[in-house]
Symmetry: C3
Subunit: 341 residues, 3 copies
């Protein structure tokens, strides 16, 4: 018997199954420092223990995307090793902060399957939960991928398409326990803008660009213990390129969004997201945001719903006249961020 894991194929997923993913991972100061070295991360809450204490927390929590990448990375061997495409995210909710020293593991429940009409592949929906060493959920999100069948003759399962919300309701957003912005120092945070200073439909060019090197995205992707070979093996594609992990672009764009959204301290939810075009080393990534919605959550704390777009081109690029994403657009992410009201 082969000792290695060849991954699951479409016919290996049954609605209701729960998959416990290997390998639990402790994240600490090292991951935090590397995150800052890999992405131009400057949000004060994730940069400074002192600032986090002023905001009512016990110390600086790990960047929310460290949590996301760590939880996501564990699912790769079980969910997307034989995936043809990463189709979407929904209902992502950050349920409590992760602090240095916490250990994360992941579980996924299969919540939907739909065989493609070609009979060779199908779409699988899973709800993944990130769990800490106290067995508390820290993150939950839905993801759907297209997966190959191993045996095209395997019978098609009954189609189950989960009912997913377009966006997490503000009432479902979790404010980390203790968090308050009563003594918030806008000067040290980097910008003066409160949530109420942003208009719906306002668009923000985050200005800076970052050119990506192969070594950087591979260091990052390994850091999350994401094993998808397309990211590491230059012999995998005929053109010798290594496909950059989509989450790397999410982190780059989110970090760049500090310019104009410096007070959007935490990600509270990921409503949806699409990796629109592949990104490769040598690309220079820029980002822009659009304010989609705003909600008051607690005294002094509001949430902005934001579209975050990463692009290889100029700001505000998105779709052509036919509604098709422009070729320079890399990411279209819809999320809720917490900030001073």
């Amino acid at each position: 018997m082969s000792k290695t894991n060849s991954g699951r194929f479409f016919e290996d997923y049954t609605v209701g199954d729960v998959i416990r993913h290997a390998v639990p991972r402790t994240v600490a100061e090292g991951e935090r420092a590397l995150y800052t070295a890999l992405y131009p991360q400057r949000f004060a809450l994730h940069s400074s223990d002192a600032f986090a204490l002023w905001c009512g927390l016990d110390g600086s929590p790990m960047d929310d995307l460290i949590t996301f990448h760590t939880v996501f990375g564990k699912t790769v061997p079980d969910i997307s090793l034989n995936a043809v495409a990463n189709l979407g995210y929904a209902e992502g909710r950050f349920l409590q902060p992760v602090f240095p020293g916490d250990t994360l593991r992941s579980e996924s429940q299969v919540i939907g399957v739909k065989q493609n009409s070609n009979g060779k592949s199908g779409v699988v929906w899973v709800r993944t939960t990130g769990i800490n060493q106290s067995d508390e959920a820290v993150l939950s999100y839905v993801r759907w991928v297209m997966v190959r069948k191993k045996d095209a003759a395997a019978p098609a399962p009954d189609t189950v398409i989960p009912d997913l919300t377009d966006a997490v309701s503000p009432t479902d957003l979790v404010v980390p326990e203790g968090l308050n912005f009563d003594d918030y120092d806008f000067g040290l945070a980097g910008e003066p803008h409160r949530a109420s200073d942003y208009a719906i439909e306002e668009r923000i060019d985050h200005v800076d660009g970052v050119t990506i090197e192969e070594a950087e995205h591979m260091l990052a992707t390994r850091l999350w213990q994401n094993t998808a070979k397309v990211h590491f093996d230059a012999t995998h594609r005929e053109d010798g390129k290594r496909l950059i992990y989509g989450g790397h672009i999410i982190s780059l764009a989110r970090a760049l969004s500090f310019n104009g959204l410096a007070n959007a301290q935490c990600i509270a939810a990921i409503n949806g997201g699409a990796h629109v075009n592949p990104c490769f080393a040598g690309d220079t990534v820029r980002a822009w945001s659009e304010v989609l919605d705003r909600a008051d959550l607690a005294p002094g704390i509001a949430a902005l719903r934001l579209r975050l777009v990463a692009t290889r081109g100029a700001a505000f690029a998105l779709r052509d006249e036919n509604g098709k994403y422009l070729p320079e657009v890399l990411l279209d992410l819809d999320y809720w961020a917490l900030m001073p009201a």
Copy 2:
């Protein structure tokens, strides 16, 4: 109103103004490990908690240049985003060690302004202070930069040129509290040479060379949350090159200087420094030092005043017959280091 910071222009600086820089930053074991990965750092006091305990400290302090880069990085958005040139440093003093877990922030006071005769730019002098979570100063230095005017018609301010010392006086050097070299283990430190073994005007070739990759200098520069776009964006210059942060060369040269100066454990002061020529990925950096002065500070503790030169070429390169820096010279730094007397 634009939400992003377009930086200050020459006319935005007034002598006496104090600028509080964003974002406070906690530095810890992660930054220390990355520093060792990025630079060939081997000084025992910054490498080993055990060695630091033998030297009377509570543990290994962060490398002095981690402190410098972190404090410096915070000033970039306010001081040098629109800078044409980084002209010099003076009166840099390390006032107390930074330990893992400390949080650093920066403040700068404008201490001089002088409009250039072309009316399009001017020189701004600031005294920057690095401050820890207990509001204690850990570092102070003067830096001056040439900054563009936004409006060439803006009136020229009264010229104020600060009176700066050529070198920090030995009596102004701070020996970290508790530091002593009474039980100093020269064998474990790597070399047998005390301060008294060095002759004034002695020159030391540090022998090794390090070829720089794009990924490395960008990881480093992001780690210090330095946002100057010339370091990250390959589309910024017409030749597609990314300019390497001058501080990266300081750290490389200082780390290389272990070969011959292994006991120069701490940097106590930066007397002056010039980034003589730009450095780019692919360059192989070497370093050499010249002993400029020596002073006894406390029982068993002396300081060496050192010129540290980084070069793309052979050792001892510096200036041509006209006194002009040779094109292969990258850095000419003048600093005081503490070592066993």
Copy 3:
């Protein structure tokens, strides 16, 4: 007198001499995170404090190869700065785990010398011990290198060739204090295979490949404070290539071996190893293993003796019909790993 260390030459080694190597080094969470970023490391015991607690330890120990590289790196300035070739390893034993915050130093005893017939170089055998801050040995191994003579006319020493075992006896393998696999969670560890599921002579293709970048191997090699200039200086070789530190390949191959050996949690011994061919940036490294032996060590704990081969080519490549290593083979390592019985 030159202040820099030009390294030892063959005639500088005398059997019986003990060399204390500089510089002691504290390893902590930062080194752990970087190790994960540099290598596709997923072994649960080294990834998770929680998993390590379930296995009876006080927390997750540093990866055994972090210990090896750190101890090895310190020996370079004294042992291999003038080495022509790194000839072999033997009798490597991991004597106790290293935990975050421990400080490591190295000592080597010269145990053999043999001048080559050409009179220009010779082979030196040393037994190196890694020692923690409590003066306890954590690692011991024998290494032999070919070193140039400085003065070809120096008299040849009496030949002493140490008597080395082919493989560490299972009775000499150390099980870390407290380690037990009684509540071992194979699901979270990533694979269901116990030691008893592996057959002697079974071969395992670890499947994935990793293409190496210059920045990555230099970050790694600096992290271990290994100063050998061939790894860093593109001007050192005529072809401009930087030779990749052999230990980088060991770590890559060991990390890749997770696919099929996920439960081989710790390295207990290194029986031997050869860096068969040099590796350069751009190479895509794969790995395969062969089970050489198996031994029960303690209730529930067994050891597998494994050949681990790193290759630039397909799995199971090793030697040609004349017994010569194939040109694509990079590493042939023989080690003992601990796993659930």
